[in-house]
Symmetry: C2
Subunit: 77 residues, 2 copies
């Protein structure tokens, strides 16, 4: 894959981080996924190593947790 994926759950911390990440790496270089709404992608995020949101998974597959909005347990609750 060549795009990064930004996983979030709509929390204020998530929205703020999303704006920063889009500004930094460019809207064309990141797919934004709301795993609170698109719950079918929660397992994909977990498999990528995402422990909390917001998080960015790089094209190399590294999970970067950015600040802290909510744990995956919170997202799944």
């Amino acid at each position: 894959m060549s795009k990064s994926i930004f996983y979030h759950a709509g929390c204020p911390v998530c929205v703020s981080a999303e704006q920063d990440i889009v500004n930094l790496i460019g809207v064309d270089n990141v797919e934004v996924v709301h795993i609170g709404e698109d719950r079918s992608r929660i397992s994909e995020a977990e498999n990528a190593g995402v422990k909390s949101v917001p998080a960015l998974v790089t094209p190399k597959g590294n999970a970067l947790h950015i600040n802290f909005g909510a744990s995956m347990a919170d997202v799944k609750a």
Copy 2:
């Protein structure tokens, strides 16, 4: 300021995140500061809202804590 600033302290988590961030936003768009070595910039990082390293301060001045390597208290110890 137009560059982001990446603050780190040489920890493994920091080094890994630095490589990811440089790959994502480009080496020309980020200044890398090792506050374990350049201790004169610790207060600058704290003033920008950095609570732990590694952290990226965006051109807009937002502090993005990326994963967790060490707290600022650890860095100052």
